[in-house]
Point group: C2
Chain length 395, copies 2
């Protein structure tokens, strides 16, 4: 087991009707003026925004509204949010939405208290935010885990770059997680969420060489089994509370670091996917991951056959082929692919309805490798050449 | 799944040599004067205390020393600690030790900032500590989980009462967990720790009626399997780093609430054991739990056979007897008992070398039921009569 630091200070309020207490929760922290950050019309259509503002008014908390976040949230909107927060002397940002809204709120929070810094420099790792405005969220989509994670991913339209970075300033003060708020998530987005949740654990589980982490491994395996069961139910019965609840709680645990503790890993597929949806913003993150993952797995598995076989046996109930562990490993990947297909998720880039051409693989690899200067560590080193091969094989 | 709130803000520094950074860690929080709280001579003998004070001096942090905590920590010592903290204007308490030292530190922390309150009233639930001195710890024993939990258990020598209560003020700021510091823990204490860690999950897993918590259940089952494997190794090879590391991390997760989320449960065996070691302070908590648990399990299992059968199949690898699930459930309890015995842990009260007599069961039940006025909920209600039966059957 490698040394690790684990710090997840976010307070989680989980369950039915929990969003109705948001005013009380924020008041306990002593904030009197906040910004509500959200996406398009769905929080208005469902009445959620009204319930939130009612709860805030009941607790005597002033608020300004700032909507407009789209999937693959952009830096330009976040910069507008920073200006608004400064102008309105906002003390706290409440994100109401899924990972895109929460990430946009985190980006704004970092920027507000660092007015002399170009916020993109945090993403290019030229600077580090030492402080940020506090923030919290009401979650409406089980997927990114951003509600308790330290990550934040933003697209800079200037160049089509999509980048993320981790920071303690990204840990929300609280996350209000009511599974009922995800009943209206459509079949495609539910599938994307299921994939994204699985990926956060799969990449930790497969993306490194750490040994002797039996508890971390098992928690990861059980999270995957639970998400596959619940994802299959939610796919057919969108208003099944227990399935939505399992997805939502697994979504938080999958990306709060718990499923990678003691392992050194690199999330290679996330890096490959960020270039994809950075260049083709209509690609949903979960769909991009689904389109790339099994190709990546078949490309790298031979450098850690025991690990892929363990996944196949413990998660996909493949009978171990003791004379041919490679066959077991490959059968696990096949069953994972079949699961994605059962949710109608794409398993090839050409299935993404985004105008991607086969020759775009070279451009994507050029960007992902930063012109051939960056290699991604993991169980097998990915340089520019290997990245391009994966993009091509995945087409 | 029941609604829940989950908040574990303690920052965990886990792994080799982590205790040597304690000065830097405390300095980051801005404290300049602290109290080091510890037990008997072992932290001095092993040189740990010297390493800690050296690290503090290197970071320019002033400290006062306050040792003397024993297993089943007592209120009178904690009160001395409160006086010392006030007199010396201490800003932070660093516990260096196991659960007894950490609990004593938590009790002191609550008391220091509530000088007009009899601190025992927090334990009798006549009062609630609204504030407390901040505290953190360097863990030397994998057992109680107190290093990240919200619980605190103290014995009041005046009447031989042992009581605990949960409070947000009990969450440490940080926990420094170096498994190497547990290499010197002897075989008996290692066994007690293994039992205690298992109990924190077993009581959550078996002690309630919650349904539809697949992820919580599985994490609990994983934790039990991992602790049994690691406990068996540490029993034979006390300096096996990986086994000690698995025990230590499992110890924190087992009592930080993760393994009970979404379930309503009552830790009946902990309540029965607190009376036991309250009245017979030479009984180690883990040994008391071990002596009571399987009798309790055989007393209550028939009110939730499916749950006990699930435990037997998933954790103890019992083949399910579909025609007779009760047999499966009982076989699981038998294997648990055999595991305790393999660690030379007691499985009957008469095996505890503490002068307990069979007729003490009536007195213990009288105390645990508060003169017959308290019943313990769970899968089967325990009143005074049932408690006495369990104490007698466990003799």
């Amino acid at each position: 087991m490698e040394n690790f630091t684990y710090w997840v200070p976010t307070k989680v309020y989980f369950g039915k009707d929990t969003h109705k207490q948001v005013g009380t929760v924020i008041k306990e922290y002593g904030f009197s003026k906040i910004m509500i950050h959200y996406g398009g019309g769905s929080v208005q259509k469902t009445g959620l925004l009204d319930q939130v503002t009612q709860s805030l008014r009941d607790s005597g908390i002033e608020y300004v509204l700032f909507g407009g976040v789209r999937p693959n949230p952009v830096l330009s909107l976040a910069k507008e949010g920073m200006d608004l927060c400064r102008r309105e002397k906002v003390e706290f940002i409440l994100a109401v939405g899924g990972g895109s809204v929460i990430d946009s709120a985190k980006c704004i929070a970092d920027g507000v208290l660092n007015p002399d810094m170009d916020p993109w420099k945090f993403f290019t790792k030229e600077a580090v935010p030492e402080k940020a405005l506090p923030h919290g969220n009401i979650l409406t989509l089980a997927a990114s885990g951003s509600e308790t994670s330290q990550s934040c991913v933003i697209t800079n339209e200037d160049g089509g770059w999509k980048k993320g970075f981790n920071s303690p300033t990204h840990r929300p003060l609280f996350a209000i997680c009511n599974p009922e708020l995800t009943f209206t998530v459509n079949r495609f987005q539910t599938g994307c969420g299921t994939v994204d949740i699985m990926m956060h654990t799969l990449e930790r589980y497969l993306g490194g060489k750490g040994k002797n982490t039996p508890l971390t491994d098992r928690i990861g395996e059980d999270l995957l089994k639970t998400v596959m069961e619940a994802g299959a139910v939610a796919d057919k019965k969108p208003e099944d509370y227990e399935a939505r609840a399992s997805l939502m709680w697994a979504g938080s645990l999958s990306h709060n670091d718990l499923t990678g503790l003691g392992r050194a890993y690199v999330m290679q597929v996330h890096q490959l996917e960020h270039e994809l949806s950075g260049m083709f913003p209509s690609v949903a993150h979960g769909a991009g991951l689904s389109a790339l993952f099994c190709t990546w797995a078949r490309y790298v598995y031979r450098w850690d056959v025991p690990r892929f076989a363990q996944l196949a046996v413990r998660v996909f109930h493949v009978d171990m082929d003791f004379e041919n562990p490679e066959a077991t490993a490959l059968e696990g990947i096949r069953r994972l692919e079949a699961f994605f297909e059962s949710l109608s998720m794409p398993v090839r880039l050409s299935q993404l309805d985004a105008g991607i051409k086969k020759e775009d693989g070279a451009v994507l690899a050029e960007k992902c490798s930063q012109g051939g200067t960056r290699v991604l560590e993991g169980i097998y080193l990915l340089g520019k050449k290997e990245m391009e091969q994966i993009y091509l094989l995945a087409y």
